[in-house]
């Protein structure tokens, strides 16, 4: 299938009515068609869709005493009166807004960038209800042969999005993309040992459904649910910890979108350029061009072509993430990271949000650590954290922490018994010389995996603080 043509013209229709308005302004429009299937242990519980949402957001940038006043308003009403109401709302809020940018220029055209990344699942685009029904069938089929694990709860949601962008500088562009949101709870129960039931809970954001992967995934998920039944809490202490890609996905984008962006720099909460923020030799990129990544797109939400940016080179802070306004305020140029999504890219209606700098996909290239087994050997003694509960790093301090949902003790360079309970946490990115997740990376695995907002290999991090069931130990290092 070729890339589908965008037929929605939401932004263009609104922009036509805004031509008399003083520049600069832009309009971001979306037509979103959502389908969902929700299921429980006995099969499908609820089928939803089409859930149709068409809307747009208008942004006005007005000079104000050497600064810029930002006006923004959004609506689903594309009638003449609806657009007039939105415009009046944006003009009203601009009177009370102020941002330290001056003479802001919006892009006049989507310039030559990398070829557009693959972001449309053709099966979802053509017939989402059928694709979701087939995927759900494949999910339940994958567990039919499992003696002690089954699906207990979940949903698969698809969004077919036509995004359009127009501005006062003449830019008019648009692209189609699909999004998949998956939630599956796997329960392991029964058996002669009488252990309580165990669960492995999966959530993910992606561009496409991959039903062919379900048999392999079902086997993995079942094992984690099974092992959760007899897992014990971990020991307490500063331990060697292996963090796989799905755990890093929940930690890195949210922290780095603030700390390594214009947001943090403007508020003097970012590391200085060239500061040592990660272990020597660690490279970390933001890459908006990766095929099938949820953060990829031909252009950012201000119309700047996507590219790859080096945020950390050989352990030192390098480029920062900028949108048009933050770049202007800090004397730089936009890096194409003007996104209308949350810091973790889970925003549902981008048209209703104002752009701001954020990560697209956090990427760490393959290191020399080898396979998972070699990484475990290198850890010697420690823990493989398979899943932690909502580590939710706070962007300002970059502190993160969460309960270990399932993991494995590493003993003598080999995976040993499962662990569950207790917490693991620390800083993602600390001041130079202080311990942190990035500064304590000792081995980088050799097989990056794309999952949600990251494309990273597993990392061996030395000295992360783990709190388990032991008698209280020494206070963790600051």
């Amino acid at each position: 299938m070729t890339t589908p043509r965008v037929t929605a013209d939401t932004a263009v229709r609104v922009a036509d009515r805004l031509r008399p308005v003083e520049p600069p302004w832009d309009v971001y429009g979306e037509r979103i068609v959502t389908h969902e299937v929700h299921f429980g242990p006995r099969g499908v519980e609820l089928v939803r869709g089409p859930l149709v949402l068409e809307g747009y957001g208008v942004r006005l940038l007005r000079p104000k005493e050497g600064k810029t006043a930002i006006g923004f308003n959004a609506s689903t009403d594309t009638s003449d009166s609806g657009v007039a109401e939105v415009l009046a709302g944006a003009q009203s809020v601009a009177r009370y807004s102020e941002f330290p940018a001056k003479d802001v220029q919006l892009p006049s055209g989507a310039g030559a960038g990398s070829p557009a990344p693959a972001v449309v699942d053709p099966h979802l685009w053509d017939n989402a209800p059928l694709a979701l029904a087939q995927w759900t069938g494949a999910l339940f089929a994958a567990f039919e042969r499992s003696p002690d694990a089954s699906v207990s709860f979940g949903s698969v949601k698809s969004r077919r999005v036509e995004a359009t962008l127009s501005n006062s500088a003449g830019l008019s562009t648009g692209y189609a993309h699909t999004e998949v949101e998956l939630e599956v709870a796997i329960k392991s129960a029964g058996g002669p040992e009488g252990a309580p039931a165990g669960e492995y809970w999966v959530t993910s954001f992606a561009r496409r459904l991959e039903p062919e992967r379900l048999p392999e995934l079902a086997e993995q998920w079942s094992r984690f649910a099974r092992d959760a039944r007899h897992a014990r809490p971990p020991p307490t202490g500063d331990l060697n910890v292996v963090l796989p890609p799905n755990v890093l996905e929940a930690i890195l984008p949210q922290a780095l979108s603030f700390k390594l962006s214009g947001r943090g720099r403007l508020r003097e909460l970012s590391p200085a350029p060239g500061a040592e923020v990660a272990s020597e030799g660690v490279d970390l990129f933001d890459d908006g061009t990766l095929p099938w990544a949820i953060g990829s797109s031909p252009v950012d939400d201000e119309g700047i072509p996507q590219r790859r940016r080096a945020l950390i080179e050989s352990g030192k802070s390098s480029e920062l993430l900028y949108d048009t306004l933050y770049a202007n305020a800090l004397g730089g140029v936009t890096s194409g990271n003007g996104l209308r999504a949350g810091l973790d890219l889970t925003g549902r209606e981008r048209f209703a949000r104002i752009p701001g700098p954020a990560c697209t996909t956090v990427s760490i290239p393959a290191g020399s650590g080898g396979s998972d087994r070699e990484l475990i050997e290198a850890a010697g003694d420690g823990i493989w954290i398979q899943q932690i509960g909502w580590p939710s790093p706070d962007p300002i301090t970059s502190g993160f922490g969460g309960e270990i949902r399932i993991g494995y003790r590493i003993r003598n360079g080999k995976l040993a018994e499962p662990v569950r309970g207790g917490t693991v946490g620390g800083l993602v990115l600390g001041p130079p010389g202080a311990p942190s997740l990035l500064a304590n990376i000792s081995v980088v695995g050799s097989s990056p995996v794309l999952t949600g907002g990251v494309s990273v290999p597993p990392l061996l991090v030395r000295g992360l603080t783990v709190a388990g069931e032991d008698v209280p130990g020494a206070t963790a290092s600051a």
Partner: protein, 464 residues
Amino acid sequence: MADLRDHEVELRRVLQRVGAHAAFAEVMAQASQGESANIDSKSRRATTSPHIAGAIIRAWAGARWVEASSSSFDAKSLAAVADGLERDLRAARSSDPPPGESSTTVGESVARPARPMREMGLESEMERARDYFRWSMDVPGIKNVQAWVAWWDDERFYLNTAGARCYYVSGRVRANIAAIAVENGRTEFDYDSSGAIGGQEILEQMTEERARTLAQETVALLHAKSPPTGAMSVLLDGGTTGTFAHESFGHGTEADQFVRDRSYLKPILGQVVGPESLTIADDGSIPGAWGSIPFDDEGHRSGKTLMIDHGRFVGALHDRDSARALHAKATGNTRRSDFQSRAYVRMTNTYVEAGDWSFDELVQEAGDGVLLEHWTSGMEDPLGGQMQIKVRRGRRIEHGKLTDLVSSMALSGTVLRFLKDIRGVGNDNKFRMDSGFCGKGHGDYLPVGDGGPYLLSRAVVGPA
């Protein structure tokens, strides 16, 4: 604000069309309107909430629910929704009636605060945010302050084929301050907020004294020690106790998970699970509380549900499906985030009732451990019975006395064990209902209230 009742004719028309092919159908129209004023040391920003409104139609297809929505009330868009649902309903193989009891409630509730936020205006809202900013920013050692004022009116209109007709408008108001302090490369922040249903009076709860205290406590965090790690006595402040109630017997008793056999609590309904002094309830009818709703999104009136009554696990939160499956009554806890989101069993205001221990007695009883203050988030494990709560700050407790200030922590533990280990419930009858947002699974966030007194138990603590 447009009145959704103006669309009643169109909504009834589509309900009638869909209802002709189903044993039951319902429609929920929803709209919101609001503003916010944000300020920090580098920028000021005012916003008005998006003008997003629409309707969702749900029908029983004999063996499962089907639903579709539109963000437009025009006849063509609503007809397209009906077309799709009719196709699904014709394909249904069963004409069995829907589970549970269909609401026949007829009622209206339009909040009319003495000083509604819609009359305040953005200029005054920005001025109020500027006050919050200045009060905290003036404290020596503060690097930056983010202060904001936000409000929105949530309007919902529910109709079903059994005759229910429910309409309400609720206005939620929130004042927030986050203070940031930096010294020698160390960054700390803390927050304070007030949120409730009402009008401009809620903004006055955030006083200069509160703002300054927050800032002073944030600066003090720069010299806080790292938290102790491991299993120990934990004393939760009121907000953290509320988060415990929410994560443990709140999510744990959302009975849709009982029906799926996905709750560790289902087999122990009726048993004693905690001390006599422990009572946990959910109440969506508390006037002015952040999570209150006059009617739920199945047309049931909200009310109080006891989950733990003096230590005994006595009840759960139900929608019509779970009520039918478990021989109970719907409790008025079926909620949608908005017109695009599905209806789930959800909490409203969840809290622990006051006990009879003074704060000093609790600290002394703790012996050695940690006091946890200023919750930031929580998470539950409905099948495994684990929970996680994160806080910004606390104090060590040594030999029955409060000692060193410690910075952010995560608490983790098994709920049933935590309950058994409860050694005291505080006697603070003046606890406030905190305002927060709760998701189900990975999304569907909606406003909920949590509260409680100080509570002493035992859990694992680590850095966060």
